[in-house]
């Protein structure tokens, strides 16, 4: 049993856990000492949310090997459902942290269900259909939430696609206001819960990947025909990875939304999906630590570049190109590889 714990993958996993924990401790101590700029302080929760988005998309793109271009759609579902939960539970659950956790769970569940519904027709097919369907899905979700009105009164929830058709009691509260999004949110998201969410997602992903189900998922990525021939039900395992990934994106969306006093559906558009995909590609497919670093760095970068004012996005693009070039430069790679745990294991034997 002890030997199992010492394998290369477990060592890499613990390195990732250690890195995230260390980062959390350092940032918390800086914040406690009062040395943190308000810019960075405001970015802590979005960083957590984007890190979770990146590792969850990495599960779909890197581990399962399917391209999803609508990951922000799941984030949107999680954000709206999670925030609604947080508002609805305001009088029931007193502790804001507990309410936040409830919101994350509800966001994850709803996003997971939506992921399942999207997956039913698409994951049976082979090829790039998932990319096309998720691309459309992201836009559909955006349109739905832009036209959805949801109110709460003593009779429960009222839902309509027209604001004058809610039939609420006069004291009822409008939660989702169509194109106005959700307003008047109590900002209950905090860095510690965000850190907790990252750790939970990492544990789930690593444990999943290093189990029977994870092996099957990676087998489908490597060779679908061979996976079928050894008796692996393809659709089931594709669905498992995709729904897990969608649920995590939902939790990330709820965390992200509860950090702002107001947000609209347009926040979670195609650009957000592509941004998360950039984190994943930049960090390396299947490399969770890479995704985490890329998500954190690229979330801070636009804020840190504010001093360049109108050249901000230009510098951002140049940094992206430089990082890609450096990552693929053989000389620099071999230099860094010396510090990394060798990936091939006992291949030279």
């Amino acid at each position: 049993m002890k030997k199992l714990n010492l394998t290369k993958t477990s060592r890499n996993n613990f390195l990732t856990y250690g890195f995230v924990i260390l980062f959390y401790i350092v940032l918390q101590s800086i914040a406690a000492g009062g040395h943190m700029s308000s810019m960075l302080k405001g970015q802590l929760v979005p960083i957590c949310a984007y890190v979770v988005m990146a590792i969850s998309l990495n599960l779909t793109v890197g581990v399962l090997g399917e391209l999803s271009l609508g990951h922000a759609g799941f984030m949107s579902v999680g954000a709206f459902m999670g925030t609604t939960t947080a508002i609805a539970l305001k009088s029931v659950v007193a502790s804001p942290t507990l309410r936040l956790i409830c919101a994350l769970i509800v966001g994850a569940i709803f996003a997971g269900i939506v992921g399942f519904l999207v997956g039913i027709p698409v994951l049976r097919l082979n090829g790039d259909y998932l990319a096309i369907v998720t691309l459309a899905f992201g836009e559909i979700i955006k349109s739905i939430f832009n036209n959805l009105y949801l109110g709460l009164d003593s009779h429960g929830f009222h839902m309509s696609l027209l604001d004058n058709k809610l039939h609420m009691e006069p004291e009822g509260k409008l939660i989702i206001g169509g194109p106005m999004g959700i307003g008047g949110i109590q900002k209950i998201a905090n860095f510690t819960v965000g850190f907790g969410l990252i750790m939970v997602c990492l544990i789930v992903i690593f444990n999943l990947v290093n189990s029977r189900a994870g092996r099957a998922i990676m087998a489908i990525r490597d060779n679908r025909i061979a996976a079928e021939s050894v008796g692996i039900p393809i659709t089931k395992y594709k669905m498992m990875a995709f729904v897990t990934s969608a649920a995590m994106a939902g939790a990330a969306g709820a965390l992200f939304a509860l950090n702002f006093s107001t947000f609209v559906a347009n926040k979670f558009d195609f650009n957000t999906s592509i941004l998360v995909l950039v984190f994943v590609v930049l960090g390396g497919l299947g490399n969770m630590l890479g995704s985490i670093v890329a998500a954190a760095a690229l979330t801070i970068l636009p804020e840190a570049l504010r001093q360049f004012a109108s050249y901000r996005m230009l510098v951002y693009a140049i940094v992206l190109i430089l990082v890609m070039l450096i990552r693929n430069n053989p000389t620099i790679r071999s230099f860094f590889d010396r510090f990394r745990l060798s990936k091939k294991g006992g291949a030279e034997e």
Partner: protein
């Protein structure tokens, strides 16, 4: 059920006298595989037509024929990569017409591929464990929460995988990446992975392709040894006549999707129809040559 799983590799490895190869030994038992009037059309092209075959419980059967004769198509029909247009396949007496590839594997057919299909980015051990996939008894949550069952089943899977790798002396390669293995080892790993699914019929698609004579000789020993250890039927496609004539007990010759001959190696060797399919008609060639000369 778990009791059965636990003993799986041990119970199946019953040594049997390999010298006493008698095709009649399976005569009193029902055949493991029966094909009746099997056929498939691709559009207007009939790739296989009226294919009838029976394979005994512990027989090593050979499927030979010139390139494009439809040999791999038959393997694809047996494993349900293609659905047959006509006819039926009975595996151990059960009709497989409603089954998918993955269900056929669970019912007992495992295969290797002509162009090697391994899970290249995974380790050798993981490749074998994927073969054991349906014999590992914990689900997604057992893995995510690392329940006691996970540790027990994974440790057991590790032992089974190592035992299977031992057949080909590959246990020292367990942690290597499958894609980084030399060609011969990749072929062997594919056979180990197929065996891990606990088949009753093993399909080998050109197992000796690209091997030198000494490797082929070793492979021949190994195929016979596998049959003896696991008491399974083996059906193989091969162009190497030394291998086919050396270990196959029954041979079926295909040409243009039709069975042209069936029988023991000696019968096949002297069958004029087979010789014609492989080498062409004697008279025709001579006539052509004469015509050219003249």
């Amino acid at each position: 059920m778990s009791e059965q799983k636990k003993q799986r590799p041990v119970t199946r490895m019953v040594p049997v006298q390999s010298k006493a190869i008698v095709p009649e030994r399976d005569a009193d038992k029902s055949p493991i595989l029966e094909c009746h009037h099997l056929g498939i059309d691709f559009g207007g092209l009939t790739a296989v037509n009226d294919f009838n075959l029976m394979v005994g419980r512990t027989e090593i059967a050979g499927l030979i024929g010139p390139n494009g004769a439809g040999k791999t198509t038959i393997f694809n029909l047996l494993t349900k990569v293609y659905q047959p247009t006509r006819g039926s396949i009975l595996l151990d007496g059960a009709d497989t017409s409603k089954m998918t590839t993955e269900q056929v594997n669970r019912a007992g057919i495992a295969r290797t591929f002509q162009n090697i299909r391994l899970f290249n980015n995974l380790s050798v051990e993981d490749n074998v464990k994927l073969g054991l996939h349906n014999h590992i008894g914990y689900g997604m949550w057992g893995g995510v929460f690392r329940l006691p069952k996970y540790w027990k089943e994974e440790a057991h899977a590790h032992d089974s995988a190592m035992e299977l790798l031992k057949i080909f002396d590959m246990e020292h390669l367990a942690n290597a990446q499958a894609g980084s293995l030399p060609y011969g080892a990749q072929r062997r790993l594919e056979i180990v992975r197929a065996l891990a699914t606990n088949p009753s019929l093993l399909l080998l698609d050109e197992p000796a392709a690209g091997m030198n004579p000494s490797e082929t000789a070793e492979l021949m020993d190994n195929i016979v040894r596998i049959r003896d250890l696991f008491q399974i039927a083996v059906m193989l496609i091969e162009h190497d006549m030394n291998l086919v004539m050396g270990i196959c007990e029954g041979i079926c010759v295909l040409n243009f999707g039709q069975v042209i001959a069936k029988g023991s190696p000696d019968e096949i060797k002297s069958n004029p129809v087979v010789i014609e399919a492989y080498l062409g008609k004697k008279d025709k060639k001579k006539k052509k040559k004469e015509a050219n000369d003249g």
